[in-house]
């Protein structure tokens, strides 16, 4: 006979304000098997946990039910307390009377009635719990970082620094990401390349780090500690081990009209190219969409000029399988396409640019060599209008499918652009149209005020409504809400602060990783406050803007945090497995092998076993057995099994039936 103890938490007033906790504890007393029931202010506090330990001993409890917050919050806490009290930690059930009761109901009688039902159901379940012992599985001591921007690079460096091997998979021919395209960084105005490229070199030279550039993750199998990842190494038509990065091919290639994505199409590159001077690895790549040799078999110039013999037109995509213990997603962001916002005439005039394009126009390595020139006629612009919040902060039902969130970085980089423009070209009038200026961050607001007070940038509260290219000018029609006027400005350039969104590769990657995403395709963290760099999927971690809009310092901080979580995982030799796994009752198993087919992990195998029959003969029968180290406990097999031989520990058929019965009583 089970001896159950029930503990009802007040959670301050979080539960006690809407649920009559005393009544719940009283009702629990009358359930069969319950020998102790009490309410307490904070069960998760040290004294609350002590209460559990003491009562287990005092009442010789065989199982406990804690009525508190969600098990996703404190199940672990209470299991540990139970274990410290000498009970098997799996003899604990949680009745979720906070998130799923007190917080959603306003009326005390009905909330209390529901809480009682939830407690009854938990008691019914715990009565059928069996002590479980968790097995262990070994940890592969290598980590994978997906994405080679500043987030991925920093995470990889920190993991390598702790002595673990780490691979970076980057889809572009070089690592560096968005930061490599940025000119200066706020609020210190130091040169982005000057602080990024040493890190890129460090990553390349670190013997613990392997960089798979121009590669993608194409399949992920396994689970925490034991992932097997298939990496697709896209054919770059240049042998990585032979190319010296001399760049001669990129000068001789006759195909000159390829939009240069590194400069966002503001200039052209060749069909064989190295994205930028400090690229890592510094290896040429042939763009198969433009190479005439690959398309029509005529040309071969690059092969002729390459003294290293590195060109290989026959190259094919390669797939390699690598084992990892942990995976970090660092897929970053992109500015949205602004073609739905053509009231700003982006498609109509080359002088309307996005902020990232403006960044390239200001950069010494950019298409204009660092001189700010209008893309249309390469003249110096005298009036520049910056438009904030293009595609950010829109309502869910907005006609332009904009983003409902604030993109966070635009206010600061616009202040930076405005300031740098005024500093370099004091004869330029700079207008910034804003809805709010959002500058939370160290030295951020001071930076913005400097733009206004020291550099004389015109900040105008209002929005631009229409941009009309006419006679070489951009006629900007905007509202000045403070002056109560509609303004008409003849501008030479308009710069749009486009909203940022997660990279398009993030969604399919999340599916491969079975990591969850929010409705905006940002990765979801395990807990928004307390576990911000972990995905709810064990062994998958998050770094940088793939989790939400972030500036560089925040990205680097999160990258380090993700690395420390990975290190904590890889430092273990073994991981405790989830003991809630499937097991087959061999006496019932008919050997039909249905379960083997539905198991997503290949955890079920079939073998012949000898059974003693009632007539004292022995018989060889095919029966299923579950590899507990591989089973993840989804339960697909339990439902598939036609003879009811398969069951799931911790979520057994009987337990769930008991919960159903208790609820429907």
């Amino acid at each position: 006979m089970q001896r159950i103890g029930v503990f009802v938490c007040h959670c301050g007033s979080n539960i006690a304000a809407t649920v009559d906790v005393k009544a719940v504890a009283e009702a629990a007393k009358h359930e069969s098997g319950v020998v102790f029931s009490a309410d307490y202010q904070y069960m998760c506090s040290e004294s609350g946990q002590d209460l559990i330990k003491d009562m287990i001993k005092e009442h010789k409890l065989t199982g406990i039910v804690v009525c508190s917050c969600s098990p996703r919050m404190h199940e672990n806490t209470f299991c540990k307390a139970a274990a410290a009290g000498g009970l098997n930690p799996y003899m604990v059930e949680i009745a979720n009377i906070r998130e799923q009761c007190s917080w959603i109901h306003k009326d005390m009688p009905s909330a209390t009635a529901k809480a009682i039902v939830l407690v009854r159901s938990a008691i019914a379940k715990v009565t059928l719990n069996a002590p479980l012992t968790a097995g262990t599985s070994p940890v592969t001591k290598r980590a994978l970082v997906i994405g080679g921007g500043i987030a991925g690079i920093q995470t990889a460096l920190d993991i390598a620094d702790a002595g673990f091997e780490v691979d970076i998979v980057e889809k572009e021919p070089t690592i560096g990401g968005k930061m490599a395209q940025i000119d200066k960084t706020f609020p210190t105005l130091d040169c982005a390349a000057c602080i990024l490229t040493p890190k890129m070199v460090e990553a390349a030279q670190n013997d613990k780090i392997r960089i798979f550039s121009y590669s993608e993750v194409s399949a992920v199998k396994g689970f925490v500690g034991n992932f097997t990842v298939t990496i697709k190494r896209k054919a770059r038509y240049v042998k990585e081990d032979l190319c010296t990065g001399c760049g001669l091919c990129t000068e001789k290639c006759p195909q000159k009209k390829v939009p240069n994505e590194f400069n966002l199409g503001l200039d052209n590159r060749r069909a064989i190219y190295i994205p930028f001077a400090q690229a890592i690895p510094k290896i040429a790549t042939i763009d198969p969409d433009y190479c005439t040799m690959l398309k029509s078999g005529k040309c071969g110039v690059c092969s002729k000029v390459c003294s290293a013999g590195a060109i290989d037109y026959q190259a094919k995509d390669e797939f390699i399988d690598v084992n990892y213990g942990a995976i970090v997603a660092a897929t970053g962001f992109n500015p949205i396409k602004v073609d739905k916002y053509d009231e700003f005439a982006y498609a109509q005039s080359p002088d309307v640019v996005t902020s990232l394009e403006y960044e390239r126009l200001m950069n010494a390595a950019g298409p204009t060599g660092g001189t700010l020139l209008r893309p249309s006629d390469r003249t110096h612009p005298h009036t520049i209008v910056f438009v904030q919040c293009v595609g950010s902060r829109e309502s869910e039902d907005s006609t332009k499918c904009g983003k409902s969130y604030c993109s966070k970085i635009c206010c600061m980089y616009t202040a930076k652009h405005a300031m740098l423009t005024r500093e370099k070209y004091p004869d330029t009038d700079v207008y910034v149209f804003y809805i709010d200026v959002r500058t939370p961050g160290k030295s951020f607001d001071e930076f913005y005020r400097r733009a206004v007070e020291q550099y004389g940038v015109h900040y105008i509260k209002g929005m631009v409504g229409k941009v009309t290219p006419e006679g070489g000018k951009l006629k900007v029609q905007a509202s000045d809400l403070i002056a109560g006027k509609q303004l008409h400005i003849d501008a030479d350039m308009v710069v749009l602060a486009a909203a940022i969104e997660p990279d398009k590769t993030a969604r399919p990657l999340a599916t491969l990783l079975t990591a969850s995403m929010d409705t905006n395709d940002f990765f979801t963290e395990a807990h928004p406050k307390l576990r911000p760099v972990e995905s709810p999927t064990a062994g998958v971690f998050l770094s940088g803007a793939c989790q939400g809009p972030k500036d560089i310092p925040e990205t680097v901080a999160q990258a380090g945090a993700a690395a420390s979580k990975v290190i904590g995982l890889l430092a273990k030799d073994h991981l405790v497995c989830n003991p809630c796994v499937a097991n087959a009752n061999e006496m019932l198993c008919s050997g039909c092998s249905q379960c083997e087919k539905v198991c997503p992990y290949g955890a079920i195998t079939y073998s012949y076993k000898e059974f003693r029959m009632p007539d004292r003969t022995t018989k060889l029968r095919l029966v299923a057995s579950v590899n507990a180290a591989v089973c993840q406990g989804c339960g697909a097999c339990t439902v598939t099994c036609p003879s009811g031989a398969m069951d799931l520990k911790g979520f057994s058929n009987k337990q769930i039936m008991a919960e159903v019965d208790a609820i429907c009583k």
């Binding site: 902060r393 829109e394 039902d397 006609t399 809805i435 209002g462 929005m463 229409k466 509202s479 509609q486």
Partner: protein
């Protein structure tokens, strides 16, 4: 509807607009082609209706300057649809006895030989009840 009590709720009901969705960016007024003709501008319509300041709007000639070109409706980042508020206040105004803005008697004076029928029909729909 009696003379003096057009209230905020009437306007919200007639227009179907939720003024609380407005984030006060002013894009409606920035994009409005009738801005210079108006005493109260689209973003002020939203704010004044929100604050229940209806009477000033009802008295304002701005009501008859809106061209119903849907620019503010399409470009509002928050789907507030200010033009619907203008129309609601205008309707509430001309529905009051004797408040038609355009009467048939006035037509011969403004007629010119090229004016399309469509213009007259539209103006009557907008300016009178």
């Amino acid at each position: 509807m009696s003379e003096n009590n057009i209230c905020r709720e009437d306007i919200l009901r007639i227009s179907g607009v939720d003024t609380r969705k407005c984030m006060r960016c002013g894009k409606c007024s920035a994009t409005c082609p009738a801005y210079d003709e108006m005493e109260y501008h689209p973003h002020q319509f939203v704010n004044m209706v929100e604050n229940g300041d209806i009477e000033a709007l009802v008295e304002s000639p701005s009501l008859f300057k809106c061209l119903s070109c849907f620019a503010c409706i399409d470009r509002c980042p928050r789907q507030v649809e200010p033009a619907k508020l203008v129309e609601a206040v205008r309707s509430a105004c001309i529905r009051r006895q004797g408040h038609n803005h355009l009467s048939a008697d006035a037509i011969p004076a403004i007629l010119d030989p090229d004016i399309p029928q469509q213009a007259l029909v539209s103006a009557f729909r907008k300016y009178s009840e």
